[in-house]
Symmetry: C2
DNA sequence: GACATTATACGATTTATTTCGTAGGCAATT
DNA sequence: AATTGCCTACGAAATAAATCGTATAATGTC
């Protein structure tokens, strides 16, 4: 059972899911594009994540190479579950309609959801 | 622009949205059903919320009467917006499909979403 | 009126998270 | 081999949030 990532850790995970493998330096450069933050802060976060088992790291090289140890799918699943419970009293449909209602989806996006619903029903 | 409620504050809001008006005592009793917590903790949280403008309170009576000052709709909208950005890279559709995919919706629930999509398109 | 009960106010502590400074190691450059 | 630069480790400070203890005031009860 994976530990729940904090907000800062989730930002790092997002980058690792995108990049696959990355050094602290690389992650930090990505992160810096969105917000002002020190290098050792990023380092510390990633070290914490390693301690929690959220990332794996290869220490063979001088600058360690990190990769996500938890899947995006599993993590999002767990986050959504918690979010629905806490913010929508457990109702998935309320969340879904709230999300769609405020997002002004394009015709294509609506179609995508319809197709997804169809597929679900035929399972 | 309303301040964002913390996790504990959101729990209180949920109760107030449900009950309409309530004293600290009443809110605390609800809260206690889900988790072990002290009365003054609940009190403090609600005082903080009052300071932030998240609740209104009537001080005419000895035990103050509280009510939500922010709507459930607006609050959920803001929470969802943040959540989609932080956990799903801004993609509403990804959130929606993840949520539906893991919830095993009933036929009725699926129909409800379909109807909602139809209505959206004809707006 | 004294006493018990139940309120609010508020500071202080605890816990979680984020941030950063500094030390020490390794490697490339001169 | 000294200098410079980049790296990790790690403790500690800063921040945010939640929890609680204690003081004090209002109300009801005997």
């Amino acid at each position: 059972m994976q530990e729940k990532p904090t907000a800062a850790e989730l930002e790092v995970l997002a980058i690792l899911w995108e990049m696959g493998e990355a050094s602290v330096r690389q992650v930090h450069e990505q992160l810096s594009q969105d917000k002002e933050t020190g290098y050792t802060t990023t380092l510390k976060i990633m070290q914490n994540m390693h301690g929690k088992g959220l990332v794996n790291r290869d220490e063979k090289r001088r600058s360690h190479v990190y990769a996500a140890a938890v899947s995006q799918q599993d993590t999002q699943e767990s986050l959504v579950k918690t979010f629905i419970r806490k913010a929508f009293g457990g109702s998935t449909n309320k969340l879904v309609m709230q999300a769609l209602g405020q997002s002004e989806p394009s015709k294509e996006e609506i179609e995508e959801i319809r197709a997804f619903l169809d597929k679900m029903e035929n399972k």
